[in-house]
């Protein structure tokens, strides 16, 4: 887990509301000279009093002027339906349609509660209460306070705060769902045969990874040392390596398939959201696999505690996103052939879309995109030396997810990944045919061995 | 408490004293005779004079005497230092003007790390 260092210094820089106040109104307040840094402690001087007054005033006026709403011309109304705890937009309009909600047969857009709240807070939709009677008195508008009272429990409120935080950063966020998966539909079925063979496979793979512990026990007693002689430095590390037990971390698609186990709601920690990096070509009905997944956690809840090893394992085994170690992001062919949407391959669905005569025009429009992507991929492809790659692998890990920690309103993100130190051979191996080599590579790798 | 246990305690005290005298340049470091019984062991402080390189407590540069509490990282559950224990240390084993003691944590590889424990809420160093 790691936090960026500059996160800690956030506290030192003054949160300067006067710059934001400028956006709200052209107030001369911002033009006055201001101290850019914070003070150590109150010293009772008038200068400090004045600076404090100004800082607070900038903040208060920004809050007071921060009115949420929309202009009549571009107003889009969303109605909250208490029975389904979601909202419907009868006449949907706007950019948010590209990434949020689900359309129904009548062309209305249905939003999850947290999507509804986010758009209402932003001013993109006007929130109202959905009436089930045929009374046409008019709309019952909702206030922000009303909507916050509709959360069913604290976890829902926390999830909403985390959702908003990610959305404000520009990400595309949706609820995690088994409908979008790397794994073919049959795999997810928890039939007894499947789980038994899974279990057997897991046992076998761990045994093979433990590298024959029984054999080790036989070979590594003190008498064997009299027989055995080491003639080169790598031999020592290699034989020591056999003594160390380590878990098998999936690296390949096949290993992932064998380790997959969909999450169930009885788990204490679950993946809540799928997140994609900002992408103007995002297809809501045919999404790609998410770029990463987020689990939410309330630090202060006495009913929740930091996940145990088993609980974390359950989360790792349920991870289902675009694993970066399987293929490059730009390798659209691989990903399209390994993404299942509602049980069907994405590549098949794309083909169906293109062959549909109504979509011929759309298909043409999307063609120029792939060559541009390839170009980008080539530019970014800088070859790094195997030593650097090796240093990066344990650092980045394999499967990973983000843990969003909520602390009474403050959200922190930590990345938790499966690191595979066991399979990295971090001692110097001379290239075949070279014994006493004093060339540069030797110096670099000896650092790793130490 | 077993004889072996007492040995451990004096080993920790000795390690801290050696480190302070020979590695950190402290003078007159001695184990105090006075102490109190805490969970079956005799809890005592060390007392010594700090070198000039160690900053004195703010506002109290008059004396260079510091009290040191030696503990072992591995044995913290066997010799539990609770807040109640610290209160007693400050009340009974230090002088009445003592505002801080030096906590010396000995780990099982022989390294020792030092932290100041100030009584009450203190202020961080001003930049």
């Amino acid at each position: 887990m790691s936090l960026p260092a500059n996160d800690l210094e956030e506290d030192e820089v003054m949160q300067d509301w006067s710059s934001i106040a400028k956006l709200a109104n052209d107030s001369p307040l911002a033009a006055l000279p201001r101290r850019g840094e914070k003070d150590y402690e109150p010293d009772g001087t008038d200068l400090q009093e004045l600076l404090l007054y100004r800082a607070r005033d900038a903040m208060y006026s920004t809050l007071e002027q921060g009115v949420r709403g929309a202009v009549v011309k571009s107003r889009v109304v969303a109605y909250y339906d208490p029975q389904s705890h979601s909202a419907v937009v009868p006449k949907p309009r706007g950019n948010f349609l590209q990434t949020m909600g689900e359309s129904d047969a009548q062309g209305a857009l249905w939003l999850e509660f947290f999507e509804f709240m986010y758009l209402a807070e932003r001013g993109t939709v006007t929130p109202c209460w959905k009436r089930h009677d045929d009374n046409n008195d008019g709309d019952i508008p909702l206030s922000i306070e009303d909507m916050y009272a509709l959360f069913k429990d604290q976890q829902e409120m926390d999830n909403f705060a985390i959702y908003s935080q990610l959305k404000r950063l520009g990400f595309i966020v949706q609820l995690a769902s088994p409908a979008l998966s790397l794994y073919p539909p049959g795999l997810a079925a928890s039939s007894p045969v499947r789980t038994a063979s899974n279990a057997l496979h897991r046992v076998l793979s761990t045994v093979s990874h433990y590298r024959m512990t029984l054999f080790n026990g036989f070979m590594y007693n003190q008498w064997s040392w009299y027989v055995r002689r080491y003639t080169s430095s790598p031999q020592i590390y290699e034989s020591l390596n056999k003594l160390i037990q380590c878990a098998a971390v999936p690296h390949t698609a096949h290993q992932l398939y064998n380790d997959y186990s969909p999450q169930d709601s009885s788990q204490s920690l679950n993946i809540t959201f799928n997140v994609w990096k900002p992408n103007p070509a995002f297809k809501k009905k045919l999404p790609e696999l998410p770029d990463f997944q987020v689990a939410t956690y309330n630090k202060n809840s006495t009913q929740q505690s930091f996940p145990t090893y088993k609980e974390l394992q359950a989360v790792f085994r349920s991870l289902d996103y675009k694993f970066s170690f399987l293929a490059r992001d730009s390798d659209t062919e691989f990903w399209d052939n390994n993404t299942y949407i509602d049980g069907e391959l994405r590549s098949a669905k794309l083909e169906a879309l293109q062959s549909n005569p109504r979509n011929k025009g759309k298909a043409k429009a999307s063609k120029p995109a792939p060559p541009a992507k390839k170009m980008k991929g080539k530019k970014k492809q800088r070859t790094v030396s195997p030593q650097v790659e090796q240093m990066r692998r344990p650092k980045n890990g394999y499967r990973s997810f983000l843990l969003a920690v909520m602390d009474n309103g403050i959200i922190s993100f930590a990345k938790i990944s499966e690191a595979d130190f066991g399979s990295e051979d971090v001692w110097y191996k001379p290239a075949p045919g070279q014994k006493n080599n004093t060339a540069k590579p030797q110096r670099q790798t000896s650092k790793i061995a130490a | 408490m077993t004889a072996a246990g007492n040995q451990d305690v004096s080993a920790v005290e000795g390690a801290v004293r050696t480190n302070l005298v020979h590695l950190q340049g402290w003078r007159d470091v001695e184990v105090q005779r006075e102490g109190f019984m805490w969970h079956g062991r005799l809890l005592r402080l060390l007392c010594g004079r700090r070198p000039a390189s160690v900053a004195p407590p703010e506002g109290e540069a008059s004396s260079d005497i510091e009290y040191i509490l030696p503990v072992s990282l591995a044995q913290h559950s066997a010799e539990p230092v609770t807040i109640e224990c610290l209160d007693r240390i400050f009340a009974e084993l230090c002088g009445p003007d003592t505002s801080r003691i030096l906590l010396a944590i000995v780990s099982d590889d022989g390294t020792i790390v030092f932290y100041f424990l100030h009584k009450g809420i203190h202020k961080p160093k001003k930049n």
Partner: protein, 295 residues
């Protein structure tokens, strides 16, 4: 003048106390209760540094305000949706009408304001606006009116009018509020942590959630807008039963030294009964830890 905070019940929980009224937020800040703003700021929606109402309070902050008489509470039993539906069955007509009136009033003011601005602009440019009695080009005027009508702003209000109606029905019996606040503290913190909070507040510190620095709270010597925080406070220890974990102490103190703060540990001394203690200002024993700078 005390601030009014509504406690909303969820499924077996009390939701975090939220404050929507900017006047209340100002009052709370002068008391040294700053909270955390969590809503999207409409004038700058794609950033997370500056956020808007609602202000989210820690359970300790709510409890402190209650005990010291700075806030009074109202309870809204969950699930809220059911209560709202029931209310609408009886009063939907009134509510609709009231909402429509507010909207029309807002429109009226906006129209007056816009016409006034328009008139001023024309004056500045030296064009005399024809009086209303004349018959100007009716097509152009209706187009202008249409544009203006289309640009009228419909506000999504922050404060609720519906919830206050429900509140009135359920009231604010003291015993109930007392119990609800205790449940809030028990579910999302504990009483010892509250005692630490109270002791630090009495020393004049402003407290905020401390997860970013690995602690329970961080303490500012004044308003966080203008001062650096001084302390990172750990969750309350038990005075007699909880020994210091030296590894954790070292980690906390090292982090503190890096960010120029002290690592603070504390425990209520339990000289009196826990629940009465808040009222009699029970003693808390604190220690501040910092790296010695050598070793």
């Amino acid at each position: 003048m005390s601030v009014c905070i509504t406690l909303v019940g969820g499924a077996g929980t009390i939701l975090a106390p939220l404050v929507f009224d900017v006047e209340a937020i100002k009052k709370l800040r002068t008391l040294g209760i700053c909270g955390i703003l969590t809503g999207t700021l409409p004038s700058a929606t794609q950033q997370n540094v500056f956020l808007s109402v609602p202000l989210r309070l820690m359970p300790e902050e709510a409890m402190w305000l209650y005990i010291n008489g700075h806030a009074h509470f109202k309870a809204l039993p969950g699930p809220t949706a059911t209560a709202v539906e029931r209310l609408l069955e009886e009063e939907s007509e009134e509510i609709c009408k009231a909402a429509e009136e507010r909207l029309q009033q807002s429109f009226k003011l906006q129209r007056e304001y816009k016409l006034e601005q328009h008139r001023k602009k024309l004056e500045q440019l030296g064009i005399n606006q024809p009086s209303k009695e004349d018959h100007p080009d009716s097509a152009r005027q209706s187009k202008e009116t249409k544009l203006m009508e289309a640009s009228l702003f419909i506000e999504t209000p922050t404060m609720s009018t519906i919830l206050t109606k429900i509140n009135d029905k359920f009231g604010d019996e003291q015993a109930k509020i007392d119990r609800l606040l205790c449940i809030l503290v028990a579910q999302f913190s504990n009483w010892d942590n509250y005692l630490l909070f109270q002791a630090l507040k009495n020393e004049g510190y402003v407290l905020s959630p401390g997860a970013r620095f690995g602690g329970k709270y961080i303490a500012y010597p004044g308003d966080p807008l203008r001062f650096h925080s001084h302390l990172v406070i750990r969750d309350a220890l038990h005075y007699k039963n909880e020994p210091l974990d030296f590894l954790e102490l070292a980690a906390g103190a090292r982090l503190g030294t890096t960010v120029k703060k002290l690592w603070v540990i504390g425990a209520p001394t339990r000289e009196s009964d826990a629940h009465d203690s808040a009222k009699t200002q029970d003693n808390v024993s604190f220690y501040s830890v910092e790296w010695a700078g050598f070793g």
